[in-house]
Every structure is written in structure tokens, then in C-alpha cells.
């Protein structure tokens, strides 16, 4: 039987007139990599802050490890690690001193802490930089330090709030690999992001939220299967007139066509070999195109179909 690590029930949080969380519900099971996906301002960080008791909320309940979470529950806090969206480290302390400080807020035993700090440094690959001050680190290395500070005390629940924002691809991959490894070691992960590719790559369960509400949830495959869209065909083609667009829309299994700045996007629902039908149409009408390819629907398509807007609309 699965064990619930976090349960949020009917959470309401208001900032004066603005409703940040509107009867929001969420349940996270032990061992999951739980992706909290939504556009900027959808309520992801507010949810996290409420779970951590950094914010008071207006209504609802939050249980962590099966017990009611409050700001005084230091026993529960000890089992949680947080990697915040913004890098929060002391500029005056070295990499090693920073990790030791934040680990020290959880672990009193000096020897145990020393070992944990060493392991955290190795885990994020900062061995060569442990005597460096944060100012000397690149953006990616700084993010890794931020992560090390949050996980050094070996928490059972790790919350990563957009940890890859403004990170170079190499560091991003390193971070994502690290998260997967932490999960394999037994940690339950809550991962918030508006990068759907990342969420799709590492999360075992995904909750999409918008305007403080739970829009939908499930595994990436389940979410994709739940929508009408089964295939997107992208064509780069110049000088396509409205007549052609209408004609393409009429092809079997095509249900939506958009043409903008030389990019034609064709959405299909079901069917096989849809791309062949499109190519046939171009050939029969003597239309030359630059490039054509087909892709499976993404989480953005899921979000788009449910909310009518893109995940990154607000960026």
C-alpha cells in the first residue's frame, strides 16, 4: 500500500482581491517524482510556500508525512529539503561553508555533518570548487550549490522550485540526472517548472495547474492520451493562401490548422500516415515546402487543449 507524503486539501490562498489558490487539491505518494507544471503565476510557488508553512492560507488543510503541517513542526521540517527558485547562499562563505551552514540547520552532529557535506559536494560535482566563493561560480555552478545546500541533510521529501531557470544545458542535464538519482535513493521529489520537457523527462506523476486550480493530473502518457490531439505535423512553407489552409483542414483526421509566418501547424486526431496525406496534397497542388515533420503531442498540447492557451504564454 502506497504511503502519502503530502496531501493538500481544498487549499485557498488570497492576496487581497487575487485568488492565488482556489480550492486546490494535490496528493503525493512516497517515491514519486511529482511534477507541478503551470505557467508563471499559476500558483506553483504559492502552493510550495503553503506546504512549507512559509505562508498562511485562508482555507484548506495540508498534511505532510501524514501529519498536519504548521510552522512549528520542526520534526517534519527536518525531513524536508527545499531548493528555491532563487539562489540563496552567503556570498561571504565558500561553497563548502555554505553547504555546511545550511546542513547545520538540520544536523547537529559535527562528524555526520562533515560526511553529508562531502557527499553533497560530490553529488553536485563541485569538488574542484569547494573553496570558491559563490561570486566566482558560473550561473550553472551556482545553481548546483543551491541544490547542494537544500539536499545535504538527506531529506526524505525534496522540493525543487524551478531549479533550472537560467541554467546552461550541461548544468541542466547534471541537475536532472541528480534529481533522478535522489529519487532512486528513496527521496520523494516535488518538482515545479514551466519547462514541460523537463517535467516530462523526469516526473512519474504530473499535475498541471492554472489560476490556482488543478487542471489535470496523471503520468505524461496518461495526460497525452486524455486529449484529442494525437499528432502534430509541422510544415515550413511560403505563400500558402487561405484556400489551401481550408483544403488541408479538410483532410481526414485533421481537426485544426494554423498558418503563421511561413509555419504551418496541422493537428490530427487519430488516424495513421497523416503526414503522407499532407505530402500528397502539396504534390498534387505543386506546392514546394522547405521542411516537414511530424511530432507527438506534448504537455503543452495538453495544457493548450484544456485551457486554450500555451504554458509559456506569460513568459
Amino acid at each position: 500500500m502506497s504511503e502519502t507524503v503530502v496531501e493538500v486539501k481544498n487549499l485557498v490562498k488570497r492576496y487581497k482581491e487575487l485568488i492565488a489558490l482556489d480550492n486546490f487539491n494535490m496528493k503525493i505518494e512516497k517515491g514519486e517524482v511529482f511534477g507541478l507544471l503551470g505557467p508563471n503565476g499559476s500558483g506553483k510557488t504559492t502552493t510550495i510556500n503553503c506546504i512549507l508553512s512559509l505562508l498562511d492560507f485562508d482555507n484548506g488543510e495540508i498534511d505532510v508525512f501524514g501529519e498536519k503541517m504548521t510552522s512549528q513542526r520542526y520534526d517534519l521540517k527536518k525531513r524536508i529539503g527545499i531548493v528555491m527558485q532563487d539562489v540563496a547562499v552567503f556570498e561571504e562563505l565558500s561553497v563548502e561553508e555554505n553547504i555546511d551552514y545550511f546542513c547545520g540547520l538540520y544536523i547537529n552532529d559535527k562528524n555526520k555533518r562533515k560526511q553529508y557535506v562531502e557527499e553533497a559536494i560530490n553529488f553536485v560535482g563541485l569538488e574542484e570548487f569547494k573553496k570558491f566563493k559563490p561570486k566566482k561560480l558560473s550561473g550553472g555552478l551556482l545553481r548546483r550549490l543551491n541544490i547542494a545546500c537544500g539536499i545535504a541533510h538527506k531529506p526524505e521529501l525534496i522540493i525543487l522550485d524551478e531549479p533550472t531557470v537560467a541554467v546552461d544545458p550541461q548544468s541542466r542535464n547534471k541537475i536532472l540526472e541528480g534529481i533522478t538519482e535522489l529519487n532512486k535513493k528513496g527521496a520523494t521529489i516535488i518538482y515545479t517548472s514551466h519547462y514541460m520537457e523537463e517535467v516530462e523527462q523526469i516526473c512519474t506523476h504530473i499535475l498541471i495547474m492554472d489560476k490556482g486550480k488543478n487542471v489535470t493530473e496523471g503520468s505524461a502518457e496518461e495526460l497525452k492520451r486524455s486529449i484529442k490531439n494525437t499528432e502534430n505535423i509541422i510544415v515550413y512553407i511560403k505563400n500558402l493562401n487561405d484556400e489551401h489552409v481550408k483544403a488541408i483542414n479538410a483532410i481526414n483526421h485533421v481537426y485544426d490548422v494554423t498558418y503563421m509566418s511561413g509555419r504551418l501547424e496541422i493537428k490530427c486526431a487519430g488516424g495513421r500516415h497523416n503526414i503522407s496525406h499532407v505530402i500528397d496534397y502539396f504534390a498534387s497542388n505543386n506546392l514546394d515546402y522547405d521542411r516537414i515533420y511530424s511530432e507527438l503531442p506534448t504537455l503543452n498540447d495538453v495544457f493548450l487543449e484544456i485551457t486554450g492557451k500555451n504554458l509559456r504564454d506569460k513568459e
Binding site: L54, S71, Y74, I82, D86, A88, D100, F102, G104, L105
Partner: protein
């Protein structure tokens, strides 16, 4: 212990500020103390330039000029234009321009009150030197009038007056004991500047660093309660403050060559009281969610304004009336006042109200700081 230790690690970054303000404080103390130890006496005479126009040309006016010339450098105002005299006063090449009116000597001989006679003295209102020349004139004329009234003839009266005023130097020798006292007071007069600047330039930014929004948020999530972290920060800040204050007291005492005397203890009590007040001010400011980088600008503003208006750099009696009124709202003013009272042989009871006012300032500012801090915290939550 983690937070306590981290406080000192973060403090390392500000060690240059500590050293810089320590050197500045010591420099100021050294310069001022060296003024006080010229020769054997505290009351040595300073030769000043004086422009004199003698419209009287009487025996008395000549005698006065002769007396003044024994102490000061006399310039003949007849050879200077008014503009030149004004420039010389402005650039402190002379301290006074004197015009002895016609009939001045006769008035003295007729027994008129010397203080009522009008020697026109022009001086720079902000300079101390101009006043001492006027004191010299008053002393000479008062003594001379006394001798004349006593039946001495002019020549004898002038001779006796000169001798009597020359004897003043022996008073200076007697005042040798006072030199050490003055040195003690000079040393401790300057300490508030050192305490203020060192605490605000080094301790304040460290406290502010721990209160930075993101770091505070990260710490609030941890399993170490906020009150425990705050106690650790307060203990570390207190320890550093105590160390700075003790070091400065020890240094000042060594330089003043005085310790463990009755006056010394009173002076130390005064410093400790001010230090407690400064720490309370520190607590108030650290609640204002200020960026650590702003602390250095704040240090200069507080250090200099408190020192100037509180009579640390300039004795209270030389402050303008407006500055004095403002100064009375600052703890440094009451620190200086207490020091003046101790210097005038005042005991603990004489300075008690000064100590209480300093503490009252601290309590009030800390109260306001805490309330403001809470309101800021609510707004940023």
C-alpha cells in the same frame, strides 16, 4: 552553534572595515591628544596674529599693545586695507582686528569701567582663538585699572600688571596634574566615534546579511527555530560588540596612562552606557530590512552626525544654538555632557541623569525599530 559560528565567518569579510575605523579612531585620538600634551602644561599660550589700529596713541593703549605683543604677533592695521584685514581673518592669518578708539586711555585714567570701553574687535565668530585675545585684553585692562585705582602711578601700574600676568605661567605648571586628566578625557571623548563606526561598519552588515529575504526564507524552512537563530546572532553580535568596546577602552586607558581610578571608573561607566545604547540602535536598524551594502553609507551618516552634533569632535560649548538643540536628542550629546561633569569633579549622582537619557534614547529607538521591522515583515510576507 552553526549560526553563531557562521556569524564570525561572515564577519571576516568586514575585517578591513574594522581595521580602517580602528585606525581612523586611533588617528583622531592621537592627533587630539598630541594637542593636549604640548610642553608641560595644558594651558600653553598660542601666538596669534592681531591687526591693531591705535587711534588713541596714549600711554595706556601703547602699554596694552606692548603686552599683547609679548604673546601675539602684532600687525599694524594702518598699513592694511579693510579688505586685506577681512581676508586675513577669513584665512585665519590673524585672529582679531582691533581698533583702539581715541580717548580710550583717558577713560581708563578717569576710572571708567574697563569692560565698558569699546575696543572694536573683529574676529571670525567660529574660531576659538579670537576669544582668547579678548580675554587677554580684559585681563590686562582689569588689572591695570585695579592698580591705578589702588594709587599706583601709570608706570608702576603697567609694570605690576605685566608682572602679574607673566606670573600666570606658574599657574600652568601647577596644572600639570590636570594634563593627565585632560588626556583621559580626550581619549574617552573620541571613543563613541570608534564604537559607532566599528559596530555599524562590521556588525550591522553581518546581522543584515542573516536577515536577507532569501537567506531568511531558506533558514525559516529549516528545523532550527527562528528564535534559536536570533539568539545565536544576538550572542555573536554582542560578543563582537563587547570585544570592540573593551579593546577601545583598554587602548584609550593605556594611552591616557590612567586606569582603575575613581574618575576612570565613571568614564568607563559612561562609555559602557553609550555602547549599550549603540547596540540598541543597532538592533533597531537591523530590523529595517536594509541591504547589507547600505550599511557602510549608514555608518558614515550615523558616525559623523552623532559625533559632530553630540560634541564628540567639537566641544558642546562651541556648537551653534541650533546644533545644540538637535544634539540634545542624541545619546552622544549626553555622553559628552557626562564627561564634562566628571571632568568638573562630578560623581556618579551627577552623571546619572546623563546615563539614563542615553539608555532612554536606546530603548525608544529600539522600540520604534522593532515595530517598524514587524510592519515591514508583514508587508513583505
Amino acid at each position: 552553534m552553526t549560526v553563531f559560528k557562521a556569524f564570525f565567518k561572515v564577519l571576516r569579510k568586514y575585517k578591513m572595515s574594522l581595521i580602517m575605523y580602528l585606525v581612523i579612531s586611533l588617528g583622531i585620538i592621537y592627533i587630539l591628544s598630541s594637542f593636549n600634551t604640548k610642553g608641560n602644561a595644558s594651558y600653553y599660550r598660542v601666538s596669534q596674529g592681531i591687526a591693531v589700529r591705535d587711534n588713541d596713541n596714549s600711554e595706556i593703549s601703547k602699554g596694552l599693545i606692548e603686552y599683547l605683543s609679548t604673546i601675539n604677533e602684532i600687525k599694524n592695521a594702518e598699513e592694511l586695507t579693510d579688505e586685506q584685514i577681512t581676508d586675513m581673518i577669513y584665512y585665519t592669518r590673524i585672529s582679531n582686528s582691533l581698533i583702539i578708539p581715541a580717548g580710550f586711555g583717558e577713560a581708563i585714567l578717569n576710572g571708567e569701567d574697563a569692560s565698558m570701553l569699546k575696543i572694536e574687535s573683529t574676529k571670525n565668530a567660529g574660531a576659538r582663538m579670537g576669544y582668547s585675545v579678548e580675554t587677554e585684553i580684559d585681563s590686562y585692562l582689569n588689572l591695570l585699572s585695579g592698580y591705578l585705582e589702588g594709587g599706583f602711578d601709570m608706570a608702576e601700574a603697567e609694570k605690576l600688571t605685566m608682572e602679574a600676568l607673566a606670573d600666570n605661567s606658574s599657574v600652568n605648571v601647577i596644572a600639570e596634574v590636570k594634563v593627565e586628566d585632560d588626556k583621559l578625557f580626550t581619549m574617552f571623548q573620541m571613543l563613541p566615534y570608534g564604537i559607532l563606526t566599528m559596530l555599524f561598519s562590521a556588525v550591522l552588515p553581518v546581522i543584515l546579511r542573516f536577515g536577507t529575504m532569501l537567506l531568511k526564507k531558506r533558514s525559516d524552512i529549516s528545523s532550527t527555530p527562528a528564535y534559536k537563530r536570533q539568539i545565536s546572532i544576538a550572542l555573536a553580535a554582542g560578543l563582537v560588540s563587547v570585544f570592540i568596546v573593551i579593546a577601545l577602552i583598554a587602548l584609550a586607558s593605556v594611552l591616557a596612562k590612567e586606569a582603575f581610578t575613581g574618575r576612570w571608573w565613571l568614564v568607563v561607566i559612561n562609555v559602557v552606557t553609550l555602547s549599550i545604547t549603540v547596540v540598541m540602535l543597532l538592533v533597531a536598524v537591523s530590523n529595517l530590512n536594509m541591504k547589507p551594502e547600505v550599511a557602510s553609507a549608514f555608518t558614515n551618516v550615523v558616525g559623523l552626525s552623532f559625533s559632530f552634533l553630540g560634541g564628540i569632535f567639537v566641544p558642546i560649548e562651541f556648537l551653534g544654538s541650533g546644533a545644540k538643540v538637535i544634539g540634545q536628542f542624541l545619546p552622544t550629546y549626553w555622553y559628552s555632557e557626562a564627561l564634562t561633569r566628571i571632568k568638573a569633579d562630578g560623581g556618579f549622582n551627577d552623571i546619572l541623569n546623563c546615563l539614563l537619557i542615553q539608555l532612554l534614547f536606546g530603548v525608544m529607538v529600539m522600540g520604534v525599530g522593532l515595530v517598524a521591522g514587524r510592519s515591514i515583515q508583514k508587508r513583505t510576507a
